[in-house]
Symmetry: C2
Subunit: 303 residues, 2 copies
């Protein structure tokens, strides 16, 4: 693998581009939006500095082009990141289908759409996969893979592993894949706690990132309950505490995002953010992620 | 604050004891179970080594006693951690009520019981609070506080802050408080994904701790969506993507912990654990937590 085509250079595409470049791969980037090239270059410069902190210091070459044929003609791998509009994605993947070199894997970063619907017009659909990253992709290791050809999925998984990513493989497609479904499930309860006036938005956020969120950076929920079951592990946990877990599920909330709840959330987030701009908060998030990634040695759950 | 009584010295009580000792407080510990003193000492020795890595190197004195009156007589603060049995807890808190020095705060570590039910027999219930930590309490900063007297809650919050904890205050009691409700909500969906055969247990765990779990060690869910809303922040997010979030909530699963699902989880966890014993996994979890805690500088969300 030497040259990757990055199609669509918004936040996700630009972050992927930086990751590829940092690992020494050449990137040919395509984005028809006005000003896209400058925004991409500026994002990549900043992200490459961050990657250098993690010891990722490859020197891939970045080339930007407004010509899709040119960008796809010499690519060994394609990462597509156009906006989450089903018709647009479907058309773009069909175009890529016609232009990408035979046998080249085409990965879509789609978070919300189903693979089956966006590859519907592709003649060589077997080589099209979903490879959904988590924002920002150059820092967060997760990549969720969905495909129809096991060999292609394996090849893609190995490729992402060479970039320090942690691919997880879905056995079948599912709206929201895995991580966004877990996030949504948690967020529903977080909104319920706001709606019910149980705590401030800032305290709910703090409860997560100083409690379970901290542990979930180290191991997943199943492994967590394995350790919560004492010497008998998950088997003991499920047989003894399973019923109370099911009871707790039944007591979880089902909130609405009414104007009143939205107002409470918006005001609560404003309190929590204080005078920090979104850009400052992003920088602090990235700083936090970088420090955790730097600190990662071998941890449980084989992340 | 100079001397803390730790009532009940299982995993949670022992971990609290280590935290108090590491911060230079004397601990008088009570536990009627056979062998409790040795288990406590051994846990504390190990935990104090971990705390020393975080620069917490106080030299409180640990005294164990089988006499509740003796332990409570000279305590400035009481942390109760007896088993999660409502009748037992209620009786123990009533005993503490009669024996603890006037004005001393009594904090229960209960995770599953409601404060109102366990303080029912206390004459001085206003000084009784729930202070629920997250396992292991000497490492994970979260403490969830529930009480009836705002002054007492404030005093307790300040005390826990001196121990490097992050207290969050519940405005009203709620089964499971905040963090366990968020955990349960996420776990329900994790079990659903197993039930539906979407991915292996190990991949579901990996998706969390390499994706949203990693980010949630840095900031909570509301702040995360604030950054997901672009320049318009959470307000833009809720008004534009709120409806799709609500739609996602409706598509979340409602699994059962049937024998078949339990079997899949147990086998999946066994695959994930490989040849690592529960003790090894705990050590790796603690190592992961320690490294993250060491790396924590100032991060977004003011954790």
């Amino acid at each position: 693998m030497k040259r990757v085509a990055v199609i669509g250079c918004g936040t996700v595409g630009a972050s992927w581009a930086a990751l590829f470049l940092g690992h020494g791969l050449d990137v040919a980037a395509y984005d028809p939006s006005p000003g896209a090239e400058d925004r991409l270059q500026s994002f990549v410069d900043h992200a490459l500095d961050q990657l250098a902190e993690l010891g990722i210091r490859g020197k891939g070459e970045l080339r930007f082009s407004g010509d899709l044929t040119d960008v796809l003609g010499a690519a060994d791998f394609v990462q597509e990141n156009v906006p989450e509009d089903e018709a647009l994605k479907r058309r773009m993947l069909a175009d890529i289908d016609a232009l990408a070199v035979e046998g080249v894997i085409v990965a879509s970063s789609t978070s919300a759409l189903l693979r089956s619907s966006i590859v519907a017009e592709c003649k060589t659909s077997h080589r099209f996969i979903v490879a959904h990253p988590f924002n920002p992709p150059h820092l967060v290791p997760l990549v969720e893979l969905v495909g129809e050809d096991e060999g292609i999925i394996q090849e893609a998984a190995e490729f992402y592993q060479t970039l320090g990513r942690r691919p997880v493989i879905l056995r079948r497609e599912m709206p929201g894949h895995i991580a966004n479904r877990l996030s949504s499930a948690l967020y529903r309860e977080a909104v319920y706690l706001v709606e019910q006036g149980v705590a401030s938005v800032a305290d709910i956020d703090a409860a997560l990132c100083n409690g379970p969120g901290l542990r979930w950076a180290v191991m997943g929920p199943h492994m967590t309950y394995h350790l919560g079951g004492g010497p008998g592990g998950i088997k003991h946990y499920l047989s003894h505490l399973g019923p109370s877990q099911v009871k707790r599920w039944a007591a979880l909330g089902n909130p609405t995002l009414s104007p009143e709840v939205q107002k409470q959330i918006v005001e609560g987030v404003a309190d929590e953010a204080g005078d920090r701009s979104i850009q400052e908060l992003e920088e602090r998030r990235d700083r936090g992620l970088l420090e955790i990634l730097k600190s990662r040695t071998e941890v449980a759950g084989k992340p």
